[in-house]
Symmetry: C2
Subunit: 255 residues, 2 copies
């Protein structure tokens, strides 16, 4: 396994996983990427199941996906994933998304922390399994997209509010990382997507939200045409500003 630092996993774009333009939903791609991260970590002894036994779990902190194109319905595609770097409290995991004939759809970057499930405190990655994790760092493979950046939203008028429902909630009782992607992308209309494609999508996961929470979405357009979105929970009442749950940045191109 240490020889083979890059994991490769194959997928097909299923009918209910493509949007009205016939291209894979970004949330579905995100789900595949996170699954690949899980497969790759598990195969190397750092998977959720192993960690949960010792009371630790991986937490996704940042995700950035940049695409030239997106798989079409029924198309086969594959995802390469590898660990680019390991720091004391974070690790950088990258992805490359390929079509059947080696066509490059795009790349993704993610940043993960590990926490103790009781204390919710971060674990020292470099001391885990005697520092084993650094043996899996892949230094050769390029991920030619920018790292996730800072996202700042100053708008105080939500463009949408929604309650958290049953289908949003994962096994940890949190709104799952993929559902935030779907809800953020739903802030743009079908007409908008008829004329635009997502070139780059970024998400910064800040805090968890739960059943019973109300999520408010704040959106602003930047001078360069990108959009920044902030999701806050339970805005109003005792805590008028609510609490930031996640932030997203979207770069669209005209079709």
């Amino acid at each position: 396994m240490k020889e083979n630092k890059v994991g490769t996993y194959s997928f097909v774009a299923e009918p209910f996983h493509v949007d009205f333009t016939g291209r894979l939903f970004m949330g579905v791609l995100g789900n595949h990427l996170l699954n690949c991260a899980g497969f790759h970590a598990t195969e190397r002894g750092f998977g959720m199941a192993e960690l949960n036994e010792s009371n630790y779990t991986w937490v996704l902190s940042r995700l950035a996906i940049e695409l030239e194109d997106m798989p079409a319905q029924y198309e086969e595609f594959s995802v390469d994933t590898w660990v680019e770097n390991v720091y004391r409290l974070f690790t950088d995991r990258n992805f490359a998304i390929y079509g059947k004939d080696g066509k490059v759809y795009g790349y993704a970057r993610s940043v993960w922390a590990m926490i103790n499930m009781d204390t919710r405190k971060p674990a020292d990655l470099l001391s885990l399994h005697g520092g084993d994790i650094v043996d899996y760092i892949e230094t050769e493979k390029a991920c030619p997209i920018e790292k996730p950046g800072r996202i700042k939203v100053s708008s105080c008028m939500p463009v949408r509010s929604m309650d958290v429902y049953y289908s949003d909630i994962d096994i940890n009782g949190h709104v799952n990382s993929i559902k935030y992607i779907e809800h953020v992308l739903d802030l743009f209309s079908k007409d908008w997507y008829a004329g635009h494609v997502i070139r780059r999508f970024e998400m910064a996961y800040v805090a968890e939200s739960y059943s019973g929470d109300t999520l408010s979405f704040f959106r602003e357009e930047n001078e360069d045409g990108t959009y920044d979105i902030e999701v806050r929970k339970n805005v109003g009442g005792e805590n008028p500003e609510g609490e930031v749950v996640c932030r997203s940045k979207l770069k669209f191109d005209n079709k």
Copy 2:
């Protein structure tokens, strides 16, 4: 292929596809079943891609799923599917869902029509490909659950209304069949699911809904403890009753 009338397909319950109890979401199972229907039909020359070329498409009319249990996170399971009957305008397709060691999770029944995509009129299944489809009827395999029944909802007070968003819409421009399942199940709270499991789920698909539509959900509890739900689009205004999109019946058991 005519020898092998039952198709078998394997899956694993992915982390983002299980609910807070750690069991597969019903909508995800529904997605897998419909994919199996697609695989099975395609392998026998009756798939969407082949049909679309000749301007026809399959339309799901009814789905009923009855389960003793649901796969847990990371569990492998498989789906058998076969054609039970073919009539002039409808075909009955069944499913069996098994665990790794032959454990039976449950069964499902579905009813499909085929329509001409231009005229939206139903096609005569018995004359398609020279009546070839009847050669695939499997008469031996049992599907020991009741057929989908009639669902009648008289409530005129919606329990929820929601706009159709980008992530609801499939390649045909319709709200996809799986999203209705998710939205219907979201009418029940996380607390409800903490104490109840879905024993049987039924859906009757009546009409399509589109981007820009507003969906209203009407729910009533029957004397036997089952719930009937009707989804109508664009209730109010010129057409106070709106138009029925689908109806669902849910039977829960206490945990």
